[in-house]
Amino acid sequence: MTVEGNGAANGAATPVPGAAPPPDLARVDPGRPQGSRPSEERYDDTVDDGLGDRIRPYALTGGRTRSAVDLPLESLVERTPAGTAALEAQTLERRRILELCRGPLSIAEVSAHLGVHLGVARVLVGDMKVEGLLEVHRPRQSTGDRPDIKLLERVLDGLQAL
């Protein structure tokens, strides 16, 4: 995928929460049909798109596979003022993460838009969190690893209002 691709050229391409990703971001995954409802067939879980053939997944992290920060799939990542200030000084992937995360975006989305494995996104984002460039909002759980009643009620309300 476009690890080498369109990062530097699209400084304006920052997704707004609630809006579809801009076309240049959506194009990051060539296997995804755009403008049409995806079919189960096109999303065959077993398809290997060859990403691993092009670049070793953890080359971007210097071989490190562990993130400095615990990042559940749905953790929201958001750029800090320090991240905004440091945007120009970053390497391509880190700059792209800062561009993506102007508003809160899950680590899964960061991984998908960047076209890198989840583990790679976690290492990169973990570093940037430690450096103060990104803020991370983790899921809130009560006892027993599940959202509490108050949060569930908010979700129910939100769904009903859709």
């Binding site: 755009q34 995806p38 290997d48 691993g52 991984s111 599940r146 908010r154 129910l156 309300d157």
Partner: protein, 195 residues
Amino acid sequence: MPTATRSEPAATAAPVPVKIVIAGGFGVGKTTFVGSISEITPLTTEAPMTSVSRDIDAHLPGKTTTTVAMDFGRITLGDDLILYLFGTPGQDRFRFMWDELVRGAIGAVVLVDTTRLADCFPAVDYFEQSAVPFIVAVNTFHGRIHHHLRDVREALAVPDEVPLIHCDARERPSTKNALLELVQHALVRAGAATG
């Protein structure tokens, strides 16, 4: 109720992510389900097996470069509340991924194709064993209803407390209803747990 929080400026409240898992056999319509209600075209994230496996390495030596893909979508439920829907990798051999998927999840919707009922058994087993709230949604994807829900319940051997509904994974009102059923079920479970 939460309307009060929604009227606050977005900047004052840290956004909270929540997630629901969409499970079921391969080709049952999980991604269709996600796509019917997601505000974004479903995305795919790929995870190398080793980054998430706990005990599988002993059983599958040399599999460390295998990648599994998860499709997911997003529904913004307010300024500071974002719901993610994650589809389980379709095949049973990726079951180890589910520990990661269900961590902190509200619960799961198990999609069932009644022509291939047994395909959903691993999902039902998993959620029962790990005490994850779940509902069973019989997908009427092909416009046919092959079985009465009562028969499906019997075939799956799920207790009466587990909601069992029909669902057309292509239709937003139908998938929305399935999500509402699940959240209501999770609320009942959470209420019971806290007394």
